[in-house]
Symmetry: C2
Subunit: 111 residues, 2 copies
């Protein structure tokens, strides 16, 4: 499908693309800089970048002959929001916090 969340998850379902994001999390990089660490040809990386861009996970600008890539966090935030709805399923401290808030509500004037 092509809804934003599906596009994001699909883009993240590839280790090369996740590695690219990891690299970009420490700053912008050109295509050639992103090609370097991989045993892969430049057009393949360009294809991956296209997928990431289409999912909104990166943006590109022009600088001389280069097209530096920049990580765009908004889709990651949306993915995070989606998954947070399930946090109570695995996070013990979630239940603790929940119980704590419940307790607060039950005894409003104490503390």
């Amino acid at each position: 499908m092509d809804d934003p969340l599906s596009l994001s998850f699909a883009a993240l379902a590839d280790p090369t693309r996740r590695a690219i994001l990891a690299r970009l999390s420490s700053g912008e990089a050109t295509v050639m800089e992103l090609v370097a660490p991989f045993d892969m040809k430049q057009p393949s990386i360009s294809k991956h970048l296209k997928v990431l861009e289409h999912a909104g996970l990166i943006s590109r600008r022009r600088e001389a002959q280069m097209r530096p890539c920049k990580l765009e966090p908004a889709p990651l935030r949306d993915v995070s929001r989606w998954i947070e709805a399930y946090r109570h399923l695995w996070d013990d401290s979630f239940d603790q916090l929940d119980a704590y808030l419940r307790e607060l509500q039950a005894t409003p004037s104490k503390e």
Copy 2:
């Protein structure tokens, strides 16, 4: 690829499968119960369930002729952990939240 994280992301990259997980988050369900809300045939849902099972996101047991499905949160936790590494990119209050969580962890109520 077939590393666990890629399998999870790929499994989540389909709205039907995410809807199945949402349904299972409120309890077990049989295959027919999962088929019902969709305009899709049973074998297609079974295929989706296979993908989810292969990613470890659900487990199945046998009960009479039925195979009730149950949500397994571990892979979601791993996905959450992966994405949390990027939280600082979009969350302004990341530092505050971080401090708060650190404080929570320091409370001797558990652990």
